[in-house]
Symmetry: C2
Subunit: 146 residues, 2 copies
Amino acid sequence: MNTVKLTSTLAFRLGTLGAVVSERFSARLAAHGLKPKHVGLLTVLESGTATSQLDIAKLMNVAPSLVVSLADRLEELGAVRRERDPFDRRRQTLALTQEGRELLTVCTRAAAELDTELTGDLRPEEAEALRSVLGTLARHSGLPTD
Amino acid sequence: MNTVKLTSTLAFRLGTLGAVVSERFSARLAAHGLKPKHVGLLTVLESGTATSQLDIAKLMNVAPSLVVSLADRLEELGAVRRERDPFDRRRQTLALTQEGRELLTVCTRAAAELDTELTGDLRPEEAEALRSVLGTLARHSGLPTD
DNA sequence: TATTGTTATACTCTATAACTATA
DNA sequence: TATAGTTATAGAGTATAACAATA
């Protein structure tokens, strides 16, 4: 007989915890006028993995039209600059400004604070092992890890 | 100088991985005409933590009106039965049918398969440690763990 | 004619508000 | 008058489709 509970599967726990954590991260970002996807875009730019809006859309697995509105908002906040590629004037290159870098730092600090709240119950080496193994899974799923 | 990367925080990793895993779980559930929240409701019923629609809504942290449509769908599939409470005819009690129990078993199997895919790269004791520590975090966030 | 970015539109998910029936 | 459930409506988030500029 099989008595495995759904709630003890990794899938269930990662899914539900992920939702709760995203929600709490979102709440902290709101103070800076950002949502998680804006921060995702900033992260892509910092990594230098993609700069044209279309490449960013592919990398983030979102529609190109969504990148437009994310970039609009970030430009409005002075976090990114749009620059026409002089060699192919159809392409818009997004560049992280100093202000954008600072904003990303603030978001990173918010995430780190959340980490502290989350792992309050864990021993430091447990928390570190968790971070590390999640990194392995993230890489395996094609997500950025650093 | 602070060089911590956002992508290496627990918050970022849990949030992004949670989204990816939910998406993949969702895709598997689609074959059975279900979405994650339907399964969440089945799980509540199995746990016996709540039976009236309003109590279920509170427990799941969703609007009562959402429970209505989730229950509608589950009733349609024969997974739950609505029963008027004879002592307070305003209350609808949701009862898991045999078919609902079987459906939950199928969903649990889908999650377990996903677990196998996810942890293919990990040593068994790493995977188990992960499951366990996520359980601790989930409990700490008020999520069901078994 | 194909591609990049943009705009217009539509769809999914979920919440809030209005309503019905019981209490 | 208050509460459980339901229905109607609205909002957030994101995708798809139509369009403009450039290649």
